[in-house]
Amino acid sequence: MSAIFHLLKKDIRQHKLLVGLFLAVWLFLLIGHNLRIFFPITNGIYYDLLRYAETVALWLFLGLCVNLGYRNNPFNKDHFFATRPIRLPAQITAKLLLVFLLIFTVTIGAWLTTLNQGLPSAGVIRHYTPFFFCGWTVVMLSSLWRTPGSLGFGLLGLFFIFVTALIAVGVTYQYLGLIQKSLNGLIFMPLTFLFSSLLFALSLRIGRPTHPLCIGLCFLLCAASIAGSCNTPARLTYAPEGTREKVFTDSDQSHFWISPSSQSQRTVSLNAALAKRGIAQGYGMKTIAKRISLTHEGDELLKTENQWSSDGSSLHLNLEDIMPFFDQLVRPEQIKFLPKHEYSSRRKHYQSIEEIKIPDGVLEGNLDFSVQLSHQVHRYERLVSLPLKVGASADIENKKLTILKIEEDSHHPDRSIIWVKWQRTAIESSHPRHGNTLYFATSETQPEIDKLYPSKSSQAGSLDFNRFEVVGLSLRNNWRSRETEANPRDHRLEIFGWRYLGIIESPAETLTTSVDSLFFDKTSYSATPTYPVHHTMTEKRTEND
């Protein structure tokens, strides 16, 4: 034990410059955070400075860990201490202890700060634990090199190996469907450290620190750990006073919905009007969010561009999707660690984002959340309609379509399966072409063309027999009621064949709503904003057609 402290003293003395710089930056951060208790500082530069200081502290910490691992490491046989009576475990333990002490000091500072600010401090340890495991990992990996050149090139090489492994593992995760599995990220950092230690031990055993086998194996494992860690949704962000009470008490508020019912209604009436006029065309509308931004008193604070598409006429933005955007608002002065909150949705367990942080200065004015939307109108052409009964047939482009069988799906009670025979009269290409894709729907689903079911086997001319499913509660009810009748000859239901014609995209429009109503106001969930549908353009195109 005394040997460890003797070596620890030596290590502190050896790295006093980096240790001193790190502690100086940390002291600056500590004072900066605690200054807010006495002075209500709203200057953005002040917070930016604290953020930069955090970045500097992180790099200093990593630099210190690299240096700590590399200096006097057991693979460098030429250093003076290589032939001193010092046990290897004591050498390593002293280095790891120094990293632990530094992170411990930082954690104590952060903990006291949260206490001073009257904030819950339970999450502080959880927040800083990965840092010391990360430091330990860096120390172990840096201990594998003999010369500064090999260290530099080695770390560079390892970086590329690591990134490649990370991508490979990420792809594998996706392939195996492990993405979004709710795993505790805190498990992964110790695992990564464990793998680094394994690499170190293996290298010692083999006597060759850069043995490709060691490097390959252990970095793959490290990458698997970190990929798993990254896979877990972010948990630690900050929130202003009282946020916990306001947000996420109801799990439904983890979702932000734009539900433009008026849009659907307009689409329905548009299709109905066209049908009356004998125009065999159908239209489905999708809403796309292209850009989201946050404005404060007219000034754009943050923006991000992506493509969040809806699966129907309503736009559903999951909070987890847009949360990285809000994470950018995190500022060091607002430390609040909130407990984990889990909720269940559609039988899947997700780990929700627990905390949101909005800068104090920003909270003084109106903070608006804007979504730039555009609408995609999907156009279809009706080719055929036939009554939904066994034996009904119709000609479609020199081919005869016959309904062979109608049955209920035993696995899905709200689903019916319609078997059709598709007789070809001429040899056609079996390769599906977009324009030839046929969509089938019952008359009940016709007004909501977005829900037309595109059967995989409905490519024109590709198969003789087709099977497609019709989803819809109304159909099931009607079907069942029909089945109960003695003579099932109800011809009210029809099946329609539609051909997809393509997309018309509307000009973008912006929807703005207050962040308060977005996250804090419970009524905002139902009182969704409405906006005009650009059906005038659609109508124009229709008339031209």
């Binding site: 005394s2 040997a3 003797h6 030596k10 003395r13 050896q14 006097n72 460098n76 046989k77 030429d78 250093h79 003076f80 201490f81 290589a82 032939t83 001193r84 009576p85 010092i86 046990r87 006597g207």
Partner: protein, 307 residues
Amino acid sequence: MSAITFKDVSKRFKRTDAVRNLNMEVPEGRITAFLGSNGAGKTTTIKLLLGLHTQDTGHINVLGADSRKLGPDLFRQIAYVSENQKLPLWMTVQQLLDFCRPLYNTWDRDLEATLLDRFELDPQQKLKHLSRGQQMKASLLSNLAYRPKLVVLDEPFSGLDPLVREEFIKGLLEFTEQEGWTVFISSHDIDEVERLADRVAMIDSGQLKLNESTDALLNRFREVQVPLRSESQTPDSYPASWLNFEKAGRFLRFTDSAWHREAHMENYTSVVSGITPEDISIRSLTLREIFIQLAQHYKLGLAAQKL
């Protein structure tokens, strides 16, 4: 009793055989000089015996233990000073001593003070601000102050001024005598080694060429010069122990590596006809000269092998 025993030790670095089938014993309580030209395998041998490298084959016994398993207990009895060693330059001399002191239970503070005084080192000066010679002195000081049983020195005179060398040699001889230290020293400063060493081992191209007491070595090597009266006197063949045999003008010159007081004249007169013992000039060689003669001989032999 041997402090160090090498048995069939070989070490290969990629395509280079650094050490080949080395069999050697370093007797306890003696100073053994380990000589060889650059790249002969001296430093590798030293690193093998300290466990800094691992031999491919063979066995090395150091103070009764396997060199691959040297632990803190044995390192407390071994001193190692090398010109290649990277000192903790960020430390002051005092900090170096303060760091080393608790690691050794046999640390002698009086000896530390004596050596500090003798080497004229400023304890408050950082090692990085010292000259190379002074750094070597600091290293020696930190290694000798715990009175080790085995002292391994790899080029210890490098950078030391003549006065310090003198003091160092005196001190080493004194301590070896008093404490019974075993010293294994590798150096290019053969003149200094000659004064120190009880035994001499020589390595060339990774192979041990000789290992014997200094006195015996000095006794068996002689430079012989024989005057020639005519061209016909040049011998067609000569004993293998005659090294670097050459004809220089009207003289035949060679180094006899198996010189013997009683038998030599008879050998010479039988090989070179028509000469009398009075014509032959014989001169004893210094260790340095022997080393050069042997090094040239090995070099020529290697060249002949290549041819």
